[in-house]
């Protein structure tokens, strides 16, 4: 079930560059249900489900396993941890949040004192308190270079919605897992890539695309929202279906792939939204420009409060996306 898969994947530790545990969780879910699984030098997990048509295409679907975090750069005498960002993590969002390290050590993020003269706090104003009373005590728990992430959570909101850290992009990982499980007797070969290091510049997917040489690429990722009191842009709403990306900063979707998504949505009877994003990017940008170029698109899950500890999606959009994807495989 999509919801259970999502819950499993949200629980895994996986900041950018340390996605190993997420890959293991995905492998556990897919073992015995796919034709091959391998990991490349960038840590991308590449899973194949062969098509029935020997002349069929190879379609690369990419969902990134990594999420944003805070890396320890210095341990104060008093035992507090100073950090830098891994990906786009904002101090204002991190403030007062519970975080956790790979070894399970918990901490809380504090911004102190408030930046002089007001204004937004910078990362240099932030530290993590792990309860250590000295540098020596802290060093027994955490080393410089260790990465903290928002502590995993799973908060059902109303009937259809779920808030959690790492929803970007574990919701798409869950979608990809389910698609690989459900795809049956499809003509084209599905190459599912659970990619690494998206949050620092689409780094894993570029290498994966080079290795795979797909005929078509499709990134699965979250997109921003425009349906809260102060946010009206982009024109994407939760619960109104997955969004077909027209463009963002990393890519202008290849028209054929974009249109195949619209067609797949019609065939599946799923309502989709059109998405134009003036910022951000997805693995699609890296796939599209790999080697001699790959026709590529992106299917997005609308997500509120992206890059916070309460990234919120609507499960109806996920279920719709799964139906669209299953149609898309043989339509493109």
């Amino acid at each position: 079930m999509l919801r259970d898969t999502l819950k499993t994947l949200l629980a895994a530790y996986g900041p950018t560059g340390s996605e190993h545990a997420v890959a293991e969780a995905v492998k556990g879910l897919l073992e015995g249900h796919v034709d091959s699984m391998r990991t490349d030098n960038m840590g991308n997990l590449i899973v194949e489900k062969f098509g029935t048509d020997p002349e069929g295409r190879r379609i690369m679907f990419s969902a990134h396993m990594d999420h944003i975090g805070l890396v320890v750069t210095h341990i104060e005498k008093e035992g507090f941890l100073r950090v830098s960002n891994v990906g786009g993590i904002s101090p204002a969002y991190a403030w007062r949040r519970k975080v956790v390290f790979e070894n399970g050590v918990p901490g809380v993020c504090v911004v102190e004192p408030g930046p002089k003269g007001g204004g937004q706090p910078g990362l240099e104003h932030l530290f993590i308190d792990i309860g250590a009373q000295s540098r020596e005590e802290a060093e027994k728990l955490v080393q410089i270079g260790d990465i903290a992430v928002y502590a995993p959570d799973f908060i059902p909101l109303g009937k259809h919605r779920i808030a959690a850290p790492a929803m970007d992009d574990r919701c798409a990982c869950a979608l990809l897992v389910e698609m690989l499980l459900y795809a049956e007797d499809q003509k084209n070969t599905v190459v599912g890539v659970f990619s690494t290091q998206e949050e620092v510049g689409l780094r894993g997917a570029g290498v994966a695309a080079f290795n795979i040489q797909p005929d078509v690429g499709l990134a699965l990722d979250v997109t921003a929202w425009g349906d809260t009191p102060e946010v009206k842009y982009p024109a994407v709403k939760l619960g109104e279906g997955p969004a077909v990306k027209i463009m963002d900063r990393s890519m202008i979707a290849s028209p054929k792939v974009r249109d195949a998504l619209f067609e797949a949505a019609r065939a599946a009877g799923v309502q989709v939204q059109r998405e134009v994003l003036a910022f951000g990017g997805t693995d699609g940008g890296a796939i599209q420009q790999s080697r001699g170029g790959v026709p590529t698109g992106t299917l997005s899950i609308p997500c509120r409060y992206v890059h916070s500890a309460v990234e919120t999606i609507d499960m109806r959009d996920m279920e719709g996306a799964l139906k669209v994807l299953l149609q898309f495989i043989d339509l493109v």
Binding site: G17, H74, V86, Q143, V200, V207
Partner: protein, 335 residues
């Protein structure tokens, strides 16, 4: 080869020929397969004793920051622009060496007597500075230093204090120096030593070099900013000269392969090689290219802490320089 020979050599980004020629000569004595690719990267392949082991690339960049001549004044002064990241505050009144033949020139600025109070509070940008080569007019200047001529800092190599060395271009001739040392020995794994061009202008040479290599692992030997002195709060220190070679977990251009990062630290500990974790995440280097060109490689960076990096005088400690070679060698032997 002595470190001084390498730091004294002329080799700004895009004009690495003099330093490459020196390295090539030394490399050919230690390796049968030496070649140069179209970006000018020097590639030395040394087959390992065990063909089942993964090939390892070890890289250092040959190029240094410098300047390029972009114009002249009527009275024979040279206008110029930096090649690579140079702070205009560190260049005034420094001697430069222009072109391979080493035409001397000094970076000029109006003396303090002639500056207004306002001017004294400002930093002169590269558009306000000039190089004086003693030419009497534009024509003479053009003849001596044609448009597009390169210049580098002209700083003699010097040892001082307890085991410190000061020179231009320690970033990254230290890496080249140690890479040549690695070529002296035999290993089980195939070793590919890559002497890279154009790192300082955006990791350019390494992109083509990395694309053409068939290695599983890449180790990058670098110099890195220390930021450990003066009023800098301890939490902003990046590394400390004298405390060993730096192993990086990440910088702005790449994140180290976690297993290699840990393996390096464990190896250093086990063999008593001084090593420290690089604490800042600023900067970027060729590891980004090796990690992500073509099929991708697992990468890790070993850096020597350098004070006053990207200036006329980089300062490093010999014990750290030795530690870089020792750890890289120990790693190659551990495979």
């Amino acid at each position: 080869m002595e470190l001084r020979t390498l730091t004294d050599a002329f080799g700004p980004s895009g004009y690495e020929n003099p330093v490459r020629a020196l390295i090539r000569k030394a490399a050919e004595k230690r390796c049968d397969d030496v070649s140069v690719d179209r970006m000018g990267n020097l590639i030395c392949r040394k087959p390992g004793r065990d063909r089942t082991k993964p090939a390892v690339a070890v890289a250092a960049h040959m190029d240094e920051i410098g300047f390029i001549i972009t114009g002249y004044t009527d009275d024979g002064l040279l206008r110029f622009r930096p090649i690579g990241g140079i702070d205009p505050r560190v260049v005034v009144s420094k001697w430069l060496s222009i072109g391979e033949e080493g035409l001397p020139g000094v970076i000029g600025a109006p003396p303090i007597h002639l500056q207004s109070a306002e001017e004294r509070g400002q930093v002169l940008g590269f558009n306000k500075l000039y190089i004086d080569i003693g030419a009497k007019d534009q024509k003479e200047a053009e003849g001596l230093a044609p448009l597009g001529s390169y210049a580098v800092f002209d700083t003699p190599y010097m040892e001082f204090g307890e085991g410190f060395v000061a020179a231009k271009a320690l970033d990254d001739r230290i890496g080249c120096f140690n890479l040549l040392k690695l070529l002296e020995e035999e290993y089980d794994s195939d070793l590919i030593c890559v002497f890279v061009t154009q790192e300082e202008v955006g990791l350019r040479g390494s992109q083509t070099a990395a694309f053409a290599l068939e290695a599983e692992i890449a180790v990058v030997l670098e110099g890195t900013a220390a930021n450990d002195l003066g009023d800098v709060e301890e939490r902003f220190h990046v590394c400390t000269p004298g405390e060993g070679v730096c192993v990086s977990f990440m910088d702005r251009a790449s994140i180290a392969d976690r297993e290699l990062f840990r393996a390096m630290l464990e190896l250093a500990k086990a063999q008593g090689i001084p090593a420290q974790v690089k604490r800042g995440i600023t900067g970027g280097n060729d590891a980004a290219s090796f990690q992500r060109s073509g099929r991708g490689m697992r990468t890790v960076v070993l850096s020597v802490p350098c004070r006053y990096i990207h200036s006329a005088n980089n300062v490093a400690k010999w014990s750290d320089i030795r530690a870089q070679a020792d750890l890289a060698r120990a790693f190659l032997k551990s495979l």
